[in-house]
Symmetry: C2
Subunit: 157 residues, 2 copies
């Protein structure tokens, strides 16, 4: 699929297609922005989750990411090869690993976040601040995310 021009009619009039197209373009653009850092979207997502809760087990990361277990193994393998994360023995269960970020992982996550913020800025440029907030609210409602009071948002990706 090409994303260098808007979808032509009659596709652009179909709400389902519109949503798919915007979603795919978004993933694609973020993926491109992460490439210079040697990362793919899953790497960024998992780095973020480890940062949020250092020492998570792989199973916990699976639950919080919607990535399946075998893919999670690959992602963490790659993060280790890149020197961004490491598996440590879990204190109380020898089956589990406690996954942590390395110093370099923390640095790289910072750079990835900056890149994501800039990408989001470019992607959402056609919308003003109020429209962006409306879109976010509608997408959360559509996804079935609990809208329990005002959670702090991530701003970036």
């Amino acid at each position: 699929m090409r994303f260098d021009r808007p979808p032509p009619e009659p596709l652009a009039s179909a709400p389902g297609f519109l949503l798919s197209w915007n979603g795919q373009r978004t993933s694609h653009t973020f993926a491109e922005a992460l490439k210079p850092l040697g990362l793919r979207p899953h790497h960024f997502g998992v780095l973020t989750l480890i940062d949020t809760q250092p020492g998570s087990t792989q199973q916990e990361l699976v639950d919080r990411s919607m990535i399946d277990p075998s893919s999670m193994v690959t992602v963490i393998d790659e993060l280790e090869e890149l020197g961004l994360a490491e598996r440590r023995p879990h204190p109380s269960d020898r089956r589990k690993h406690a996954v942590h970020l390395t110093d370099r992982g923390i640095e790289t996550l910072g750079r990835a976040r900056a890149s994501a913020i800039q990408t989001a800025e470019e992607l959402f440029a056609p919308l003003d601040a109020e429209e962006r907030e409306t879109l976010r609210r509608l997408l959360r409602k559509l996804a079935g995310v609990e809208t329990a009071s005002a959670r702090p948002r991530l701003g970036a990706d």
Copy 2:
């Protein structure tokens, strides 16, 4: 990716992830709905385009669908195998094919549309009519679709 539950935080707070997730769920749900008819989303899209402009060349379908040329060959091959479309000689250029729907293609397209309408109804159930229209408007703007006056919309997919 699993779509049977909403994405957990902090992913659900990231506008880019939200958009990707909703888009992927939408594609996935439409794909599932089309399976009983033996169709994939590309089949439905191309059937729609042929119906809109019978006798289109494959290149025209490529331009109007954002499907690349070699994939278009496969899609039309499959539509022919299913007895839903056929390549006819182009009246003025022997390199080209004029692609038409068969009677069965027209019937199947009708069934696919009905299925798409029902799927869209289920997907967008969390939003009321006004919210759906707002979402559609914002997604069109985000995609860069020209909002030139009121075009008739497709209602369905």
